[in-house]
Amino acid sequence: MDTRELLTHLEKLEYGLDSFSFSELKSAEASKLKESFEAFKNGLEEKVFGLPISDAIQTENPVNEKYDFQEGQLVANVSHEIRTPLNGIIGFLDLLQETHLNPQQKELVNAMGSASKNLLGVINQLLELSVLAAGQEKFEKVSFNPANLVNEVSFLCKTLINGKQVELLVHYDENIPKYLLGDPSKLSQVLLNLTGNAIKFVEKGEIRLHVHLKEEKNKKVFLEFVVSDTGIGIANEHLKHIFESYRQAEPETKLKYGGSGLGLSIVKEIIEKQHGCLAVSSTLGVGTTFKVILPFEKVQIHQDNENKTDKTKPVDISGKSILVLEDDALTQKLMGNRLEQWGCKAYITENGLFGLQLLESHHIDLLLLDMHLPGMDGFEIVQRIRKNPKFKNLPIIVLSGDAYTRQHQNFEKLGISDFILKPYNSEELLEKIDNNSKQMEQKIEEILVEEVEKQNEVVQTVDLNPILEECLEKTELLDELIRLFEQNILEFIGKTKMHLQSRNIQGVGFAAHKIKSSLKMLHANGLIKICEEMILECRTSNDLERLKTLFEDFVTKYPKVEMAINLELKRIKYKL
C-alpha cells in the first residue's frame, strides 16, 4: 500500500523532471538534482521490490509477530534512506527556483517542489508510525500546563479554519490541576490531529473540543478529551477500519481531502502506548465524535515556575526583527501571529539558504530555528552563521520537539544560545526572546567598551553621525545604507581585482573614484587616503605593482573598518 503511495509521488516527480529542460539550465544544480533523483529512485525500487514477500505469507505462526517487528524496522530504515536524498532534491529545487527560470519552468519546478514535500510528509509519518509500532518511541515525563497546551492547540486550529463557516468551541474543565506530568508534545499531536481532521472534513458547522477531569486516583489524573464535529460522518462498515494504516473511510475521500491516511493510526499508537484509550462514534450526515482518555501524573509541589511566569512586569520585545526558520506551516502561522502581536517584525521561511541570505541582507535581532528542516539542517545553519564574525553575537534559539536534542553535549559549543522544547506556550517564547536579546545587548556593550579602548590604537576610524543626520536620525535607513555600502565595497574589491589582473589601469582608477565617494559618506578616513593614492597613481605613474600594494593594503584594512562601522551602528541603535 505504502509502495503505491510513494510511487504516485514519484511518478509526479518524474513527470516534472521529464518535461524539464536541463539543457536550457546547464547549471550544476540541475545535474546534481538529476543525480540525486536517480539515486533516490533506484534506492527506493531496490528497497521496495527487493522485499522477501514470501516470508510474510506464512500466517498463523509465532514468527509472524517477529516479522511485523522486522517490517517496522525495515520501514524505519528505508524511510531514513529515502529521506536523505529527498532532502537533497528539495534543497536543489529551492536553489533551482532562485535561478532565472521562465514562467513555464517555474511552474514545473514548483510542481516538483510540492510533490517532493508531500512525499517527505508521507515518509515522515511512515517513519513515525513504524517507530511507534516497534515500541521504540520514548515518552517523556515532564511537567506542563495543560490549559496552556489546549489554548495553543485551539489557536493553531483556528488558523486552519480559514474562510470556512466553521466554529471551534473549546470547553475546558476548571478542576483540572494546573500542572501535570506527561508528554505534552505527544498530547498536542493527538489533539491537533483529531481537531485538524475535523476541520478538514467539516464544510460548515461546529467543532467542539471538550476537556474534562475524568478521574483522580492516587497520584494519577485521567483526562477525557472529546472532539466532535457536525461533518459528513462515517458509515458503520467503515468505522471499524479507520484506525488502520492507509485507510480512509471511502476511496473518494482521499481524492477530495488528501492526506496520507496515517494520521489516525499514529494517534491510536500514541494513545495506546501511553495506556490510554480511544473511541469513535459516528452517524452519517450528522457528525463524528472521538473520545480519548489519557492518564497523567499529578505534580506535587510545583517549582518556581509559578511566580516566574506570573510576574507582573510586562515584557516588551517590540521593534525587534526576528528570523524564523521553521518548516511546519502551522507553526509558521502561529509564530507570525504571535510575533506580530508583540510588535516584532517577523521573517519566516523554511529554506535555510534563503534564511542565510536574509541574515546578510536585513538587520535581524534574533533567530528562532527548528533543527529539522528540509534541505540544510539546523546544525549546518548554525555552523554557517557562526562562521561569519558578523553574527558572532546573534542569539539563536532552537525549537525542538525531542527532549534528547537538549542533552546534546555540544549545544553551547556549536553556538546555540538557548532552547525551547515544543510545544511551548507564548509566555515561554516571549520570555526566551526577551532574555536572549538582553543578554546580547549586554554582550555588545561589553565588547564596545573593549573595542573603544582598542580603537585608540586603531587609526581606521569612521564617523556615522553626519550620515545619520542626513538620514534624519532614521536608524533603519542608516542600516540599509550601511548594507548598500558593504555591497559597494565588495563590488569595488571584485572589480579592482579583475582590472589589476587585466592591467586595466583606467578601470582601477574609475573604481577607486566610485568607492571614494561612498567612503567619504562614512568618513572612513584611513581608506579614503588609500583610495586617493590609488587614483593619483592611476593618473600619473601607472605603476601596476604599486597599485597592487595599495589595493592589498585596502583589503587588509577594510575588515577593521567594517568592524568599526558595525560597532558604531550598534552604538547608535542601542543608544549606548
Binding site: 542626513e470 548598500l484 559597494n488 573614484h513 566610485k514
Partner: protein, 126 residues
C-alpha cells in the same frame, strides 16, 4: 498641488537610496535608476519635472544624457548633475550642452534639496 516628479540617475545604490529618501521626504515623487540605459528608457515614456544624474554612469554618461534630452528629445527640463570634484572639463561641456546646475561629491543631501527647489521655482514658477 500634484507632486513634482524627479528622475534620479545614480549608480551608487547607497547614495541613491539616501537621496531618494530625502527627496521623498520633501514631497517629490522620485524614480531612481541605476544605469544610463534604464534612464534613457524611462525618458521615452515620460519627461519628469526635473532630472538629477551622476556624470559617471554606466552605459550612458550624465553628459550624454544632457545631450539626449536637449537635442534628441528637445526638452528643457531642468537638469542637475552630480560630479566627482576632479572632472572640471566635463562640467564645462555639460553646461555648454544645457545642464542647469551641478553639485560635487561627496553630495550633501541638504544642499541638493536647496538646488532642486531653486531649479523647480526658476523653471515652473516664473
Amino acid at each position: 498641488m500634484p507632486k513634482r516628479k524627479v528622475l534620479l540617475a545614480e549608480d551608487d545604490h547607497m547614495l541613491g537610496s539616501l537621496l531618494k529618501f530625502r527627496l521623498e521626504r520633501d514631497g517629490y515623487e522620485v524614480v531612481l535608476e541605476y544605469d544610463g540605459k534604464a534612464v534613457k528608457e524611462k525618458l521615452q515614456g515620460e519627461i519628469p519635472d526635473l532630472v538629477i544624474s551622476d556624470i559617471m554612469m554606466p552605459y550612458f554618461s550624465g553628459i550624454e544624457l544632457v545631450d539626449h534630452l536637449r537635442n534628441i528629445l528637445k526638452s528643457d527640463v531642468p537638469i542637475i548633475l552630480i560630479s566627482a570634484a576632479s572632472n572640471d572639463e566635463n562640467i564645462v561641456s555639460a553646461f555648454e550642452m544645457g545642464a542647469n546646475d551641478f553639485i560635487s561629491k561627496p553630495v550633501s543631501p541638504s544642499e541638493l534639496l536647496v538646488r532642486v527647489s531653486r531649479e523647480i521655482k526658476r523653471h515652473y514658477c516664473t
